[in-house]
């Protein structure tokens, strides 16, 4: 399955939920904001959404800023 993550193309095995993707990438799900095809997801939805080939994801985190 082909996904676009933060503008980079990646291949992943199916099936894969948003939560499984975050775990696979070694990210802490509650500290990441996920935008799936321009829709912002709340963390309680990560486990219930199966990704499809061609999905575009933005994975966002907090960093230092003024």
């Amino acid at each position: 399955m082909h996904l676009s993550i933060n503008g980079q193309s990646r291949e992943f095995p199916e099936p894969l939920t948003v939560l499984q993707l975050l775990v696979f990438l070694e990210l802490i799900p509650e500290r990441i904001v996920v935008e799936l095809n321009r829709e912002i997801l709340t963390a309680d939805r990560y486990a219930g959404i199966s990704l499809q080939t061609g999905d575009k994801l933005e994975l966002i985190e907090f960093v230092g800023g003024g």
């Binding site: 993550i5 933060n6 503008g7 980079q8 990646r10 990438l25 070694e26 990210l27 802490i28 509650e30 500290r31 990441i32 904001v33 935008e35 912002i40 997801l41 709340t42 963390a43 933005e58 994975l59 966002i60 985190e61 907090f62 960093v63 230092g64 800023g65 003024g66």
Partner: protein, 257 residues
């Protein structure tokens, strides 16, 4: 108590602190601690998926500090609104430091896009703290849009040049019905004190702490600068004059005339 009230919420500290550019998370934590700040700003960025970093949030005590996400990096209203909604989805309270800075050289806030984004975000239930040019007319428009504070710049972000927009900030303070937070460009505790003496309700600093040899010590100095300036404002500064006015008696001393 002389508290800072923003959107009905009360704060003891009038110093807001940013978390960017510190040499280490330990240096940042020590600076936050010494600053006395209760509101700290953070930014949102894409995760580097090949190289996930240590999460900033694991270093900030969310019970102690109100996290104020900013929309830095947004070049127009649409991007700013998108970032604000992401921050809220991450479980932050719906407080947002609105920044729209299309010009990468001076990072000056875009007044038109900032106002547009403020209108959308207020309607969407956000408490909006807009970083803005020191423009009293824009300040009125932002107040009408329903923002929670006015945050005029003292000088461009990260320049440490002080309250260069002093005369315009004075007009904003005179006319404002909202807290005025001088944000950006303050580089020394004396700059913070100057803004507070003028009647600003608070100041926000980041580079002035982070980009110094000892951020924790500088944070303590800024805390004192803000308190000194606030106390001087409340006490009321004496009038300025052109001519000298003696503080000591000059009459009746060794002369008869």
């Amino acid at each position: 108590m002389d508290n800072l009230i923003i959107a009905g919420r009360s704060f003891n500290s009038r110093l807001l602190v940013g978390t960017g550019k510190f040499a280490s998370n330990q240096a940042m934590v020590a600076a936050l601690e010494n600053s006395g700040a209760e509101i700290v700003t953070v930014a949102l960025r894409r995760v580097d998926i090949d190289n996930p970093a240590d999460s900033l949030l694991s270093h900030i005590d969310r019970k102690r500090y109100l996290l104020l996400p900013n929309t830095s990096g947004a070049r127009d209203a649409e991007e700013a609104v998108r970032l604000a909604r992401m921050a809220r989805a991450a479980g932050c309270e719906p407080w947002i430091k609105l920044e729209v800075t299309p010009d990468p050289y001076y990072l000056l806030p875009d007044p038109i896009e900032t106002l547009k984004a403020a209108e959308i975000l207020v309607k969407d239930g956000f408490v909006v703290l807009p970083y803005m040019p020191a423009d009293p007319v824009l300040a009125r428009h932002l107040e009408e849009a329903g923002v929670a504070t006015l945050m005029p710049l003292g000088a461009p972000i990260g320049t440490n040049r002080g309250v260069r927009t002093r005369d315009l900030i004075a007009i904003i303070i005179e006319q404002a019905t909202l807290p005025v937070v001088v944000d950006a460009g303050l580089g020394a505790p004396s700059h913070a004190a100057e803004a507070m003496e003028m009647g600003a309700d608070a100041v926000l600093v980041n580079t002035a702490l982070a980009d110094t040899p000892d951020p924790a010590a500088m944070a303590r100095a800024f805390c004192k600068g803000v308190e000194a300036g606030r106390e001087a404002y409340l006490a009321g500064l004496g009038p300025q004059r052109q001519k000298a006015q003696a503080s000591s008696p000059l009459t009746g001393f060794l002369r008869n005339n």
